[in-house]
């Protein structure tokens, strides 16, 4: 498992995938839809898929002494590695906003969604959508990137919109809590986001393996 992940990191990955992890820092931006940072992290991953395809990675991987499903496993391991690295950075930023900068004027007067545990849950939902729609969709052909990526973009920005709008809905104001206010509720939403990410990724992996197995290379 480690070998196939190293293969992804050393050969298949675009440097942009690593660089775009830094977009996790956008969780510090006031007056900006913070969930876009999750989308930008996945944009780096998209570059990696494109780079690997142009490098004919599928044929290369077929040369290796691994089963076909392990080719898919390698790509998922790498995808999750980048997503979770981005998530850790977002989490650090969110914790800073919830503690050190909780009273900072730019954040208090922020018209948009607050960077709290609910926002982190939103980032995980966007990552789950990337894995389900784009990664699993890509393995239908192991070649065509456009259609699954455009579908993912639409789903991702609709999700950003829904999360941004949530606290304006009467009764849901609490999801925009500052600091440790309504901490129990924040934790529940984060746990739900984690469950969506884990379940969505597992489902995407199983679907991608089944699809890739059927492809004649």
């Amino acid at each position: 498992m480690l070998n196939i992940l190293l293969k992804e990191i050393k050969l298949s990955a675009s440097p942009l995938a690593f660089l775009f992890i830094a977009f996790g820092l956008m969780f510090l931006l006031p007056g900006y839809p913070v969930l876009c940072s999750a989308f930008f992290v996945t944009l780096g991953l998209f570059q990696s898929f494109q780079y690997a395809r142009e490098a004919n990675d599928t044929v290369f991987s077929a040369l290796l002494p691994i089963a076909k499903k392990d080719v898919v496993k390698g790509r998922f391991l790498f995808t999750c590695f980048i997503e979770l690295s981005g998530f850790v950075l977002m989490a650090v930023c969110a914790v800073l906003r919830m503690t050190v900068f909780v009273s900072a004027a730019p954040y208090v007067n922020n018209a948009l969604m607050n960077a709290n545990l609910f926002a982190l849950a939103g980032a995980l939902v966007i990552f789950a959508l990337f894995n389900l729609i784009f990664v699993c969709g890509f393995y239908k052909t192991a070649y065509k990137l456009g259609k699954p990526f455009v579908t993912y973009i639409i789903a991702a920005f609709l999700t950003v919109g829904v999360f941004e709008a949530a606290h304006h809905v009467p009764g849901l104001e609490a999801v925009n809590a500052f600091g440790t206010e309504r901490f129990g509720l924040q934790l529940i939403t984060l746990a739900a986001g984690m469950a969506v990410y884990a379940g969505g990724t597992a489902l995407a992996y199983a679907g991608a393996c089944a699809r890739f197995e059927k492809i004649d290379l």
């Binding site: 293969k7 050969l11 490098a55 044929v59 077929a62 040369l63 076909k68 004649d216």
Partner: protein
């Protein structure tokens, strides 16, 4: 002793059908897989490696079916689609450093030996290699993990006569070490030069799978070269 046993391999495409291909690849022998363009050579080879899904039939490596033993079989097989067409801009050294981690049998001394023998520079990228050197790079990887059988899809296509000759000499040397070489080609003189056995495919059907001497005895008219025999058989 059969290292690879192919039995009743079938694959149907809308415009082509591989019809129940059966043959063996023997240890320490060179098997030439010959047929004209579009005869089904690549489909057969890819089916032998689970790169395409056969509709029927079985492939066994070292007495075990490929299905269920894919990883184990692949560790003992060297496979090449001819020239290297992947990671064109990565250095050979970087590619090899990744590949070797997958093989318990990787032999660094053998790698250095063949690197020198083939005149490959590991600081170069595949893009900087000639077609012949790309084939040798593929062979370098296969030989460094001590592959017991090499399955090569048209390794001599696109090579100049000198490089082809060199490559066929390498096959002959490997044969002496007990390695089985199975290579497809549409160049009949390659077969004449080094193949012990012939598998002849035409329009998706295996016409003959036997030692070259038997093939000539059975199919060639007196005084006819192998090339003339093949051309006549294709016309028939």
């Amino acid at each position: 002793m059969s290292i690879v046993e192919v039995r009743g391999l079938t694959k149907k495409y809308p415009s082509f059908e591989l019809k129940a291909a059966s043959f063996d690849v023997e240890k320490g022998r060179i098997t030439g897989f010959i047929g004209r363009n579009g005869a089904g050579k690549s489909t057969t080879i890819k089916s032998m490696l689970n790169l395409v899904h056969p509709d029927g039939g079985t492939v066994c490596y070292f007495g075990k079916p490929l299905t269920g033993n894919e990883t184990e079989a692949k560790k003992r097989v060297g496979y090449s689609t001819g020239a290297v067409n992947w990671y064109q801009r990565k250095k050979i050294r970087d590619i090899v450093n990744v590949v070797k981690r997958f093989y318990d049998t990787w032999d660094e001394a053998a790698y250095r030996k063949y690197l020198e023998l083939f005149g490959l520079d590991e600081t170069k990228t595949p893009l900087e290699l000639s077609e012949g050197m790309k084939v040798k790079f593929n062979l370098l990887i296969a030989l460094s993990h001590k592959a017991e059988v090499l399955i090569l899809d048209e390794p001599t296509s696109g090579l100049d006569p000198f490089s082809r000759n060199e490559l066929l000499d390498v096959f002959t040397e490997l044969k002496k070490d007990g390695v089985a070489v199975f290579f497809s080609t549409h160049i009949i003189s390659d077969i004449e030069k080094c193949a012990d056995d012939i598998v002849y495919i035409s329009k998706g059907k295996i016409i003959a799978a036997m030692p070259q001497a038997d093939f000539i005895a059975r199919h060639s008219a007196p005084g006819e070269t192998l090339e003339e025999t093949m051309l006549r058989l294709e016309k028939e």
